[in-house]
């Protein structure tokens, strides 16, 4: 599985309140959620994000509320992958459970710039900045999580295995 797209860059501690503000949580419609994605820190995100684009951020991405609406909004907005130095734990498990690819890679998180074109190979964990030509390798997931991702998320995994 591969992804390629242009990069939207954010800093440390991007919380789920800015990914999808709670004032929009009176719905669980994924399209409506996506139409407000990142709006409090980047009002232009929704207008300029394209299918396959990639978010690169710093430490503790997705901290705060447990709202699964956050990875849902990101996924529905067309983003193919989030690369960060670290992820907050609930966002991490929500992303895996719903099948939003995420990669932890401090070096890539530090160096990749906004607007760069980046490709990601999820099987090898190789992240390539096509703009600069530099390659990075993300930490592979443990086997259990790889099985979960391969099954297509938690629901199909549990249906098959329990």
């Amino acid at each position: 599985m591969k992804a390629e797209g242009k990069v939207f860059r954010y800093g440390d501690n991007v919380d789920t309140d800015v990914i999808i503000p709670a004032r929009y949580l009176n719905t669980s419609d994924s399209r409506e959620l996506a139409s407000h994605c990142m709006e409090d820190i980047d009002p232009d995100f929704v207008k300029s994000v394209g299918k396959g684009d990639i978010i690169v951020a710093g430490r503790n991405f997705g901290c705060g509320s447990s709202r699964e609406h956050a990875p849902i909004a990101i996924k529905e907005s067309g983003v193919s992958c989030v690369i960060a130095s670290t992820f907050a734990r609930i966002f991490f498990r929500n992303s895996i459970n719903i099948g939003l690819p995420i990669l932890e890679c401090p070096e890539a998180s530090e160096e990749i710039k906004a607007g760069d074109k980046v490709s990601v190979d999820f099987t090898t964990g190789i992240i390539k900045d096509e703009t600069t030509g530099k390659e990075y390798r993300a930490e592979p997931f443990p086997p259990f999580m790889q099985d979960l991702i391969a099954a297509g998320g938690l629901a199909p995994y549990i249906k098959e295995n329990f």
Partner: protein
């Protein structure tokens, strides 16, 4: 192998002799919780698990507390979805408006969590029940759906940080000041993926309400759970609230901790987290230059009876400053009733506060106290992120009930000591 209490609880729930940090396990769940924001997503996901109905109708709690009483038509639709699901599946612990309270105050009060339980909740502050010696943690809606379907959840066993508490909190200093100080020390990702275990002789000097507040905010340091040892006070609380027989797990003396942080409780001072991260802590007494427009006293962090009593002690015989709105929100119906009988509402209303029905409302910028552009609020809630309580250019300052009440009286951030009262 020596284990921490968190490791022992998880090993027990996974049917294993022992577990070690980093190990991935499937654990049996004693309670699965959801609210009106997260449950509809889980209810929509549930059929994909290929099961009929739910694993155990007694071990699910549905608590529509975020946008209730219904904020608007969309929120009403979400609550209707939860209500219909609860009825169809005969969920024992569904709480309608009139019985509902803020989930993390309500579940312990209703005796639905006991020591040694494993609890997941589709709400990040589910870590609150660690105060009772349970392993409890926040998850998303898909995990909640899995929990409702098969009664299990996957966990990576966390490594642990030990907070070794000594001494006793001083007058006008509360558990809120302690947990804000800790988050200021270690940062909002200082306990990322880890268990925060509070130990030491100082633990026994903390009230149950203080312990709930402290465990509640473990997530604000990135923690997977916050946990307290079970002592006489815990057992008394569990008995009083009709909880199931406790399963007491104790950390081994030689259990492995990634880090130990020693804290003398007598050194903690009234503390405020400035925007826009809970780690941005300052002593309350340094906040004189910060004028405020609103205070909120309530939430799953600080909406319990002792929190209201502490705020009332400050507000008694005083007035909320001109230009300040003070919103008081008892966390549950029982707390509401007790506060009313104790005469706290007279104190609040005479001071110029408004008292709301139980709701999460303003904490997450839902409703019942939204901030306009440029407005500032001192709040006893748990997060001060950009736009958390309203406009992206509004500001939230996190504090204890006493500090929030003192600030309401003066109109700026105020150390309760400054107001000079007997509390």
């Amino acid at each position: 192998m020596p284990m921490t209490m968190t490791e022992k609880i998880l090993a027990h729930a996974a049917g294993l002799e022992e577990v070690h940090p980093g190990q991935l396990i499937m654990a049996d769940l004693d309670m699965v919780l959801g609210n009106d924001v997260t449950s509809p997503v889980a209810i929509k996901e549930l059929p994909k698990f290929g099961r009929k109905g739910v694993f155990n109708r007694d071990k699910i709690a549905l608590v529509p507390d975020h946008f209730t009483p219904n904020k608007d038509i969309k929120a009403a639709a979400q609550c209707a979805c939860v209500r219909a699901f609860a009825k169809e599946n005969e969920i024992t612990n569904y709480f309608e408006v009139g019985k509902v309270g803020i989930e993390h105050a309500l579940l312990p009060e209703a005796g639905l969590v006991t020591a040694g339980d494993v609890v997941i909740g589709a709400d990040s502050h589910t870590c609150t029940y660690g105060a009772l010696g349970a392993f409890s943690t926040g998850v998303g809606s898909t995990d909640m759906a899995a929990g409702m379907a098969i009664g299990k959840a996957w966990f990576k066993v966390p490594s642990s940080i030990r907070f070794n508490l000594s001494g006793k909190l001083r007058k006008h200093v509360s558990g809120k000041d302690l947990i804000l100080t800790i988050i200021g020390m270690i940062g909002v990702d200082g306990a990322l993926y880890r268990s925060m275990e509070f130990t030491g002789e100082g633990v026994h000097t903390l009230t149950m309400d203080d312990r709930f507040t402290i465990a509640n905010m473990a997530i604000e340091a990135g923690g997977k759970n916050g946990i307290f040892p079970v002592d006489d006070l815990t057992l008394e609380y569990l008995k009083e609230h009709g909880a199931k027989e406790p399963k007491i797990f104790t950390s081994d003396p030689d259990a492995v901790y990634e880090r130990t942080i020693d804290i003398d409780l007598s050194e903690i001072v009234p503390t405020v987290s400035y925007p826009h991260l809970p780690e941005n802590t300052h002593p309350a007494k340094e906040g004189k230059d910060i004028r405020i427009d609103q205070t909120v006293i309530g939430s799953c962090t600080n909406g319990r009876l002792s929190d209201l009593e502490a705020a009332a002690a400050v507000l008694k015989g005083r007035k909320v400053a001109d230009g300040v709105r003070c919103i008081v929100i008892p966390a549950t119906q029982r707390i509401w009733k007790e506060a009313m009988h104790e005469g706290l509402f007279d104190i609040f209303i005479d001071a110029g506060c408004v008292v709301s029905t139980p709701t999460c409302g303003p904490c997450l910028g839902g409703y019942m106290g939204i901030l306009s552009e440029g407005e500032r609020c001192v709040s006893t809630t748990n997060r001060n992120f950009v736009g958390r309580m309203g406009h992206p250019k509004s500001e939230v300052y996190l504090a204890s009930p006493e500090t929030a009440a003192a600030s309401a009286v003066t109109g700026y951030i105020t150390d309760p000591e400054e107001v000079g009262y007997e509390g």
